[in-house]
């Protein structure tokens, strides 16, 4: 219990509050191409996943998604589910290499963010909130995913620190 409180959660919540404020104040007010709002919190989630692995990505997505739900109008758990899936997908980069290069992490962040953003309208349809699974998604998903991929190299150190992951130090094997 002590390790949970003093571990990732203690860092996740304050970092999440700052990220959420940036999302609400800066990115929500300035939509870009096709009126798509860039998703800073999702970018942080997939960066945490790419830096820490699938399970850590899922937990980061769950906690930050819950904060997103609580601060807004979405049903509690909806964004948590979508972001959890996004973080988990990005974290699968660790199945290929334990210490991914920045470009490889960015590629997985792209797919993670795409899965996370696409999961929102799908989850809304499942929970009975129809109307968002439209052709506009074809613009929303690649733009949001592209932004997450660009931000990944910058946000990955924050994500690693947030999830309490230390960068692996390789040592030569002793004879």
């Amino acid at each position: 219990m002590r390790s949970i409180v003093l571990g990732p959660l203690l860092r996740l919540v304050p970092v999440g509050l700052v990220a959420l404020s940036i999302q609400r104040v800066v990115f929500a007010a300035h939509p870009v191409f096709h009126d798509v709002k860039l998703q800073f919190v999702l970018a942080l989630v997939v960066a945490a996943g790419a830096g820490g692995g699938a399970d850590r990505g899922a937990v980061a997505g769950f906690v930050l998604g819950l904060m997103y739900d609580i601060s807004g109008n979405t049903p509690l758990g909806l964004m948590a589910l979508a972001y959890g899936l996004g973080g988990m997908t990005a974290g699968y980069v660790h199945s290929f290499t334990p210490d991914p290069q920045w470009w490889l992490a960015s590629i997985f962040a792209f797919f993670g963010a795409a899965v996370g953003e696409a999961a929102i309208p799908v989850a809304e349809v499942i929970t009975g909130e129809n109307g968002w699974l439209t052709s506009e998604v074809k613009w929303t998903i690649p733009i949001v995913a592209g932004f997450a991929a660009l931000m990944c190299p910058l946000l990955m150190p924050v994500g690693r620190w947030m999830m309490g992951v230390k960068r692996k130090k390789w040592k030569a094997m002793l004879e």
């Binding site: 390790s3 571990g7 509050l17 700052v18 959420l20 404020s21 940036i22 999302q23 609400r24 104040v25 800066v26 990115f27 929500a28 007010a29 009126d35 798509v36 709002k37 998703q39 919190v41 692995g53 699938a54 399970d55 850590r56 899922a58 937990v59 997505g61 769950f62 998604g65 819950l66 904060m67 997103y68 609580i70 601060s71 807004g72 109008n73 979405t74 049903p75 509690l76 758990g77 909806l78 964004m79 948590a80 589910l81 959890g84 988990m88 953003e117 929102i120 309208p121 989850a123 809304e124 929970t127 009975g128 909130e129 129809n130 109307g131 968002w132 439209t134 506009e136 929303t140 949001v144």
Partner: protein, 356 residues
């Protein structure tokens, strides 16, 4: 934390918790509502700090990049205001007459309800929600379901209320729907329209006649001359030498248009898309509803807003093959992307209607 749990267990735990929370929140849970209220207070200083940092940067950027556009827009708006001053006087007198009539007939309207002025302080951070946040809440008497308007008309309704702020679901959100009415002037020449004025004029050029009268329909008849009679004197149109018009007998009649009221359900279709109007009587859209007709709230016991709040204008009526109903699109009056000051109408709708 992670070492003690396997990857599959962590993921399964996350998914199950999410499903449980969605179910609890969808059914309405006071604990979750209270948590939202507490979190709103926690995040407020973070929002204020972020705004304090980002606003000067944003203003400087806008000053550099958008100065010319803003100046041009300002000039256009000044012109528009001058044009609208005339309409405003006319509209005010119409509103006063309308209130008098409502009072005489003991009918309810939007004018009976107080409003609370509010400012939009935030937009939905998600791409899949059309909401805005305003800076009034339960302390100012705001409750869930109340309609919100701006100067141009209805913008949405309150869906969540906290002590000092509220969330407004905009009318373009797919979750939004409201009872609406369409008022159209049935000015087609039918048997029901009665002529109220009929005059016969002769010896006046047609061009003068049509420009000097304000009638809705003009009939021009040229009688054949009887045998042995001299032709009638002709008049010359000023400024057009040689252009002559024979004396004519002209009948002018003015008809009073009949106002037709059709009710239906207006639904949002997502941001940047017009709203969709479904009529109670599916034949309505084929007969009376026309492009340009005004749409406003219908009111009534099951209505989410009092009668008479303007919503928008019909911009498209599309006939559908294989169906008696047409697809009627309504564009909102309010500019939902540029909301700043709004008013919450303190009208508590029927809670069953809010639930829907």
């Amino acid at each position: 934390m992670f070492s003690s749990l396997s990857r599959r267990r962590v993921i399964l735990l996350v998914v199950l918790t999410c499903v449980l929370l969605i179910t609890l929140d969808k059914r309405g849970n006071p604990v979750i509502d209270r948590t939202r209220g507490v979190f709103a207070r926690i995040i407020q200083p973070f929002d204020t700090a972020t705004r304090a940092i980002s606003l000067p940067i944003e203003r400087a950027w806008n000053g550099v990049t958008n100065y010319d556009d803003v100046e041009r827009e300002n000039e256009a708006l000044r012109d528009q205001i001058e044009h609208m001053k005339g309409n405003d006087v006319e509209a005010r007198s119409a509103v006063l007459e309308y209130r008098e009539l409502l009072k005489l007939n003991q009918l309810t309207s939007k004018f009976q309800f107080d409003t609370v002025a509010a400012q939009v302080v935030g937009e939905s951070p998600s791409n899949f929600q059309n909401t805005v946040e305003i800076n009034v809440g339960s302390r100012q008497g705001v409750a869930v379901g109340m309609p919100v308007t701006d100067g141009a008309g209805l913008i949405g309704r309150i869906t969540k209320v906290f002590p000092t702020r509220s969330i407004v679901l905009l009318l373009t959100d797919p979750e939004f729907s409201i009872q609406a009415q369409v008022l159209t002037a049935d000015d087609a020449p039918t048997g029901t329209s009665s002529p109220t004025e009929s005059t016969t004029l002769s010896g006046i050029p047609i061009s003068d006649l049509t420009s000097s009268t304000t009638s809705t329909s003009t009939t021009t008849t040229t009688r054949p001359l009887p045998e042995g009679l001299e032709p009638l004197p002709t008049t010359t149109v000023a400024g057009q030498p040689g252009a002559t018009t024979p004396a004519q007998s002209t009948t002018t009649s003015t008809t009073t248009p009949e106002v037709v009221r059709e009710t239906g359900l207006l639904e949002g279709q997502g941001a940047d898309k017009p709203m969709l109007l479904r009529f109670v009587d599916t034949n309505s859209s084929n007969s009376n509803v026309k492009v340009g007709a005004i749409v406003d709230t219908a009111g009534g016991n099951s209505g989410l807003a009092p009668q008479g709040i303007p919503i928008g204008i019909i911009t498209k009526v599309e006939r559908q093959t294989g169906s008696s109903a047409s697809r009627v699109e309504v564009t909102p009056n309010a500019s939902l992307k540029r909301l700043n000051f709004v008013a919450v109408v303190l009208y508590v709708p029927n809670q069953d209607a809010v639930g829907k």
